[in-house]
């Protein structure tokens, strides 16, 4: 390895160093405030160090391919981890006693996510996925006295283990067919292998897709999502929704493109079916949810269904095509918008809900009690729903343009139909916040004092959502350089 390779690996190295320092600190003197600060500084430094990677795309060992869009997403994921870290500062937010181990797990998961994003080989894909997953089980179950998180963690653990087994078996089958484990190697050999051993390839790729579909909670692999979302402490839910799912989607799209799977009609057909079912099931089941985290769980199923539309649009396209690039751009934009919007929504939920499961009722009249938090949640909901001036709308705009350009009529119709019914449940959240209490002359509930940083964080995220929606050109230019 050359020196420049180390620069390129900066995000991974930065996180690793932070993890080691926190471990040493915990073994010398237990102090969770100190651990928090070390983690915070470490993650911030990692974020800064991302720009050290200068020459790309660069293959660092067979395991990692450092390219601009990978670096962009690893920074975005790191921001997600940073927000999670900020939300986990005090016990009031998390609902359990935070110790050093929690920060350690958080950092390990983040490392797993970054590895997953930058992976260019089945081995690193698996490593990242497991590192991310195993730390996450522990984070979900961290409030050990509480039955709900435990239930969620065990559900996630058992199903995740099954998914990992499936993934490994899928790898084995693909390896048997192609004799290669790196993305590009598979890509080069898949088409000839597909003719020689069609069954192996079909079985291998579909097992892979099922396993990744599980992690992305695509319908019909979505059963765990609502329970885990609800059971986990809100900061952890935030982490799961943004970091874990975001990284997984990036990994899927990288594997699809480098592995030339987009040339492979059966795989794309499976993806389209998953997309359609996810959009319908997610939106449909979200309609009747009374608990905001469950609602967002179902809505995330739908959103990843939307995202798959952009992936399906890659079918039959050449990498020289203009449409090919605009489809990558759509994935990048939508995912970025989704992650930022989710961060905004979960920040508010963590700030309001506190330790108990935030029932919809605890949001009643929020507009009159905590206007900043309520406005942020409103903007987040409008962005999820795809109302103009928010990031989510431009994401939808990208997807519709793409679907029209590539003639994906069925997916387009499902997307429009799904978005139309989705408005109902997003609006319900907004309406709940507008309620002026049952007795009209006594609607003023006393203001609960909250530290400034909570409002500040909410405002920053709200502004990002709006800025991305109103003035996207700089970001689009930035993405085109990726």
């Amino acid at each position: 390895m050359k020196v420049i390779d180390f620069y390129s690996l900066a995000p991974i190295l930065g996180l690793s160093v932070t993890i080691i320092v926190v471990m040493i600190q915990a073994s010398i003197k237990r102090n969770h405030k100190l651990a928090w600060w070390i983690s915070f500084l470490g993650v911030t430094a990692t974020l800064w160090s991302t720009h050290l990677a200068t020459s790309y795309p660069q293959q660092v060992t067979p395991l990692f391919l450092i390219n601009p869009s990978g670096l962009w997403f690893s920074s975005l994921i790191t921001v997600g981890a940073l927000v999670t870290l900020i939300l986990s500062t005090d016990d009031e937010n998390t609902g359990f006693k935070v110790t050093e181990e929690y920060y350690l797990l958080l950092l390990l998961s983040t490392l797993g996510a970054v590895v997953l994003i930058l992976a260019s080989h089945m081995a690193s894909l698996l490593l990242g996925m497991e590192l991310l997953g195993i730390s996450l089980y522990a984070m979900i179950a961290f409030p050990e006295k509480d039955p709900n998180p435990l239930e969620g963690a065990i559900k996630y653990l058992v199903l995740s283990a099954a998914a990992s087994a499936m993934l490994l078996f899928g790898f084995a089958l693909i390896y048997a067919a192609t004799g290669d484990l790196s993305y590009t190697g598979i890509g080069a050999k898949l088409s000839s292998a597909g003719i020689k051993n069609p069954l192996l390839v079909v079985a291998g790729t579909s097992m892979l897709l099922a396993s990744i579909g599980f992690k992305l909670s695509l319908a019909p692999f979505h059963m765990w999502t609502p329970d885990v979302y609800q059971g986990a402490p809100t900061p952890v839910t935030n982490f799961l929704a943004t970091v874990s799912k975001g990284a997984m989607l990036v990994a899927l799209s990288r594997f699809t493109i480098d592995g030339q799977l987009h040339q492979y009609p059966t795989f794309m057909l499976c993806l389209s079916v998953l997309a359609i079912i996810s959009m319908l099931v997610g939106n449909w089941l979200a309609l009747r949810q009374q608990q905001i985290k469950r609602l967002l769980a179902y809505s995330s199923i739908a959103h990843f269904g939307y995202l798959l539309v952009a992936l399906v649009a890659l079918r039959q396209l050449q990498e020289s095509d203009e449409i090919f690039y605009s489809s990558l751009e759509a994935i990048n934009f939508y995912l970025t918008a989704y992650i930022i919007t989710s961060l905004a929504a979960f920040t508010v939920i963590a700030n309001i809900g506190g330790e108990n499961d935030p029932d919809m009722r605890s949001f009643a009249g929020l507009f009159w009690r905590k206007p900043v938090q309520a406005s942020t949640l409103t903007v987040a909901m409008l962005s999820f729903a795809g109302i103009p001036l928010t990031a989510g709308f431009l994401g939808k705009f990208y997807l519709i343009t793409l679907a029209l350009n590539t003639n994906l009529w069925l997916l387009l119709i499902t997307l429009v139909f799904g978005s139309a019914i989705a408005i109902y449940y997003y609006l319900r959240v907004i309406y709940t916040m507008l309620i002026t209490s049952s007795s009209d002359n006594n609607y003023e509930v006393p203001l609960i004092s909250s530290p400034m940083w909570r409002d500040a964080l909410a405002i920053i995220l709200m502004i990002s959502v709006i800025l991305l929606g109103t003035w996207p050109q700089p970001f689009i230019d930035f993405m085109r350089h990726l």
Binding site: P388, A420, P472, Q473, I476
Partner: protein
């Protein structure tokens, strides 16, 4: 820049109104009224120059620079989206109507908003800003943006200050408009994609898209996207079901804005976009649309007749009146379109006034049920006389704007399809029936026994009468001397008719 400034005045006015809540109860209302008046005066000062009629008559579709105002700034060049506003005669009339009725709306809700006044007035102003955007945006993306964004403050108005069933009504209103809007969005993007196939880059500009050649089937499909969005908003039969709920549950100012202004965005969209962008599809679709119009007229009138709720009756009468607009638009000749413009303005005033009266009644009687009202004239002669005035105006008595609108539409329609015109004129009779029933049940007759004469019912005060006089004056002026309005709209309408002719020949 005039339009941008107008929108900014209203947006900032909203913020000031929101903040001024802390000063006093009066402050938000005063701020709202002032910012509307300032925008109105500003618009007039910018427009009314000695040569403005000549400028209006020069504006042509092929050259946006010849319009009264035209502004184009790059916004998202990656998709050919720009901030493009333009003002011609039609838009000018609509913007002026919006501002005048906005002032009426603020006046109508002067006393009945008891909580969060600042936020209320802010929402009123933001809705107006959105509507002005809709009437002047000529980039399809920007148009869609305003189309959706104006819903949010309106949703707040219904959901926070509405009546007993506000949650349902607000939700229904939002979902209907947003879901149909999505179809329009898909159609607009499809147009931009087609433009790209021809010219190599995206464009959402109206002036680029209006002469875009496209396959017949595509054209038909895309037209239906626009048609559904606008007809939901208009509302035309069978997409009208959100309207009675939204109008009935909204606070008075909300109903005034909804009936007076928001419905007109649908009509405006049909005239500006749904027909000219898709000439041959619209031409073939016209009989269907006109049939929907006739259904709407008769169905609306019959349902209105069956109502016991004062506001619901007025709401259904709007469905009936909007049927005329649908007919007029799809008759697509100068006479009918002039009628549509007059009808839009006249209906704006008459329905706004009736909703204001309904709101005042509810404020005083705490009910909208006409079975509980009777003989109110005795207690409130001024309100009764105003109601009488607007009811006979809206049923189409000669001498008022509504008459001119309906007659012009029928005249124009007769040239296209005499049967439709005959069927539609039934609406004039049914209109008279339900309107007079409304008057009869609420203001005439013996005073309601159990309500008693002891109830303190104060009549319209000066502020309310002033608002009423303004609208009365406007309606009479429209009825007696509509020519100036027709002059302002004429060039736009002829330009659009010619563009469609050209498209049909191609």
């Amino acid at each position: 820049m005039v339009i941008v400034t107008l929108i900014i005045i209203l947006l900032i006015g909203g913020i000031i109104a929101l903040l001024s809540e802390k000063l006093s109860e009066e402050a938000p209302r005063v701020t709202a009224l002032l910012s509307i008046l300032v925008s109105l005066i500003y618009l007039m000062l910018q427009i009314i120059k000695p040569d403005y009629i000549t400028v209006i008559t020069q504006s042509s579709l092929s050259d946006p620079a010849s319009w009264l105002m035209h502004l184009k700034l790059e916004w998202i060049p990656a998709f050919g989206i720009s901030i493009e506003f333009a003002l011609d005669g039609l838009s000018l009339l609509m913007v002026a109507l919006t501002l005048i009725l906005g002032a009426v709306a603020v006046s109508a809700s002067w006393t009945d908003i008891k909580k969060h006044q600042g936020f209320f007035e802010a929402n009123v102003l933001w809705t107006l800003a959105g509507v002005i955007g809709v009437f002047t945006a000529l980039d399809l993306f920007l148009f869609f943006l305003f189309w959706e964004v104006m819903l949010i403050p309106m949703y707040f108005i219904i959901a926070i200050w509405g009546h007993e069933n506000r949650s349902y009504a607000a939700m229904k209103f939002f979902i209907f408009t947003q879901a149909s809007g999505l179809l329009m969005l898909v159609s607009s993007i499809a147009l931009a994609v087609i433009y790209k196939e021809v010219n190599g880059q995206y464009s959402f500009s109206y002036f680029d898209l209006i002469n875009l050649p496209k396959g017949y089937l595509t054209e038909y499909l895309l037209m239906s996207g626009f048609f559904v969005a606008f007809v939901v908003k208009l509302p035309g039969f069978p997409f009208h079901t959100w309207l009675p709920d939204a109008h009935t549950q909204a606070p008075t100012a909300g109903s005034v804005i909804l009936a007076g202004i928001l419905l007109k965005t649908g009509a405006y969209g049909l005239i500006r976009f749904a027909v000219p962008l898709f000439p041959s599809a619209a031409n073939d679709f016209a009989p269907m649309a006109m049939a929907l119009g006739v259904f709407g007229i008769i169905y609306g009138a019959m349902t209105a007749f069956a109502q016991t709720d004062f506001k619901r009756l007025v709401a259904y009468s709007s469905v009936s009146h909007m049927g005329f607009i649908l007919l007029g638009v799809y008759a697509w000749n100068e006479l009918a379109l002039q009628g549509v413009v007059i009808q839009m303005i006249a209906h704006g005033f008459s329905s706004a006034a009736l909703f204001m009266i309904a709101g005042s009644l509810q404020e005083r009687l705490h009910t909208r049920d006409m079975r509980e009202m009777s003989g109110l004239w005795k207690f409130m002669p001024k309100m009764g006389a105003s109601a009488m005035f607007f009811i006979i105006a809206s049923l189409g008595l000669p001498g008022f704007g509504n008459f001119i609108g309906e007659v012009l539409i029928l005249l124009g329609l007769y040239q296209v399809s005499s049967w439709m015109a005959v069927a539609a004129s039934l609406g004039l009779i049914t209109g008279a029936i339900y309107s007079l029933i409304l008057m009869q049940k609420s203001f005439y007759g013996e005073p309601n026994a159990h309500r008693g004469e002891t109830t303190m019912l104060h009549d319209f005060r000066k502020r309310e009468m002033l608002t009423m006089y303004t609208m009365m004056g406007a309606l009479v002026l429209l009825g007696i001397y509509p020519q100036p309005i027709m002059d302002v709209a004429q060039t736009t309408l002829i330009g659009l008719i010619d563009a469609v002719q050209l498209g049909l020949v191609k």
